[in-house]
């Protein structure tokens, strides 16, 4: 798989976690692609932390309205049944546990469910935006990312970068497999048949617990 295929593969697998009626916040980048794979007939309400629920697709060229943009500042649309609100309401939804699932990328994630995805000291300090609230408040936090960065593991025993939140990650989905963060550590629940368990462990710093009923990762 090339880069784009890998991303699409991960996004498709994340989409299988969606349940009808879910309120979902998708981070920028790969997580945004999940919206392309929402199963037919399923009602998913995408929340945009800048102030609305019911995020729709990009408008037709020429129909952009810069007053209706997503959290990345790009013109989007709102679906029927959607609603606009202010930032206090937006984070009442997010912090208050009214988001069923958030999907975010990571620089690092560790076996305690810690996540680092907002800064590399002295190098990249974009700010956390709404990520810290999202990871703290969403009912289910899924990290969707490539398994490694230029071959180096991103799933660690302990994050070394400044944390976005402690003990909040529930699930990690990469091109190699699907992992759940549990009290005992990270459990490999599904594996992409293109890889062996050894391949996955070799690309992971944290020691993986292999699920007794390890399944084939399907999309």
């Amino acid at each position: 798989m090339d880069k784009n295929e890998i991303k699409a593969f991960i996004a498709k697998r994340v989409a299988k976690e969606l349940k009808d009626g879910d309120v979902v916040n998708l981070g920028i980048g790969l997580p945004t692609m999940v919206a392309n794979y929402i199963p037919e007939g399923m009602n998913i309400f995408l929340q945009s932390e800048n102030g609305f629920i019911g995020l729709g697709p990009a408008p037709e060229p020429g129909k952009e309205d810069m007053r209706i943009v997503n959290a990345g500042g790009q013109p989007v649309t709102i679906i029927p049944g959607g609603a606009f609100f202010d930032s206090a309401t937006s984070f009442t939804i997010i912090r208050g546990g009214h988001v069923d699932m958030t999907v975010l990328g990571a620089l690092q994630v560790d076996e305690k469910g810690n996540l680092a995805n907002w800064m590399i000291p002295g190098k990249m300090v974009p700010g956390m935006g709404g990520a810290m609230d999202l990871v703290t408040g969403a009912k289910k936090v899924i990290i969707a990312m490539e398994h490694t960065a230029k071959g180096a593991p991103k799933i660690l025993k302990e994050c070394t970068l400044p944390l976005t939140a402690a003990h909040q990650v529930d699930m990690i989905i990469t091109e190699m497999g699907v992992m759940e963060v549990t009290d005992k550590g990270i459990v490999l629940k599904e594996i992409n048949p293109e890889f062996t368990i050894e391949d996955v462990q070799n690309s992971t710093e944290a020691e993986l617990i292999i699920a007794e009923d390890l399944k084939k990762m399907e999309i």
Binding site: M66, R67, V69, D86, P126, G127, M128, D133
Partner: protein, 218 residues
């Protein structure tokens, strides 16, 4: 009780060294005309409270590029490379705040609260220097209120008393900042007569607004 003023009059109220809040999210909902005039008048050493520093050529981002900001309190600065450069060069102080916390801090300032307890940031660098308070066995950070000398906000339809209706995603921090500054100036895309807005539709009551500037369609 005439709240309508010119953009020049509005910007004249903003002095070097003041703390200002500016509504908007990556420029969406920024009061663009007022910001352009603020760049032109080159008011300096401002403390800016805003969700982000937008883009270099859009909204509040221009204030950063023009070196008018001494201190920035924001949740995200990644879309304006000049912010990062000034921050790393020590030319501008940047305080990064989780977005939901920033919203609550501004709201607390406007609502007369002494602060709020949030779980966001516990176990991260955000907790440095802050009081941690345990309520029913759970740890929270005490986040203090934020206020400003002047709030610059934008609205879609504004009546001459200052009642505001917003459009789309422009609302964001505008509603909150309208409550949290000594002087509140709204840039209106459209100004209407008192009584033209349904009192059920008003989002920001006019009592919060001190002055109205005609911004024209944005």
């Amino acid at each position: 009780m005439n709240k309508l003023i010119s953009i020049d009059e509005a910007v004249d109220m903003i002095k070097d060294g003041m703390t200002i809040m500016v509504g908007g999210f990556l420029g969406c909902g920024n009061p663009h005309k007022i910001i352009d005039k603020l760049v032109e008048k080159n008011v300096k050493d401002l403390t800016l409270i805003c969700n982000d520093s937008s883009f270099p050529d859009y909204g509040v981002g221009k204030l950063v590029v023009n070196h008018q900001i001494k201190k920035l309190i924001a949740s995200h600065v990644g879309t304006n490379p000049e912010t990062g450069r000034q921050m790393n060069a020590g030319e501008m102080e940047v305080v990064l705040v989780p977005q939901g916390t920033l919203a609550e801090q501004v709201r607390a300032g406007g609502a007369g609260l002494g602060g709020i307890l949030t779980p966001t940031g516990v176990g991260t660098v955000i907790e440095e220097g802050k009081q941690k308070i345990t309520v029913d066995g759970v740890e929270y950070l005490l986040e203090k209120p934020l206020k400003a000398d002047v709030a610059l906000i934008s609205g879609q339809k504004v009546d001459k008393f200052g009642n505001i209706v917003y459009f789309g995603a422009t609302r964001n921090f505008n509603t909150l900042m309208a409550t949290a500054a000594d002087t509140v100036i709204v840039e209106a895309c459209e100004i209407v007569e008192v009584g033209d807005l349904d009192p059920n539709d008003v989002v920001t009551p006019g009592i919060f607004v001190d002055y109205i500037v005609d911004g024209g369609a944005n």
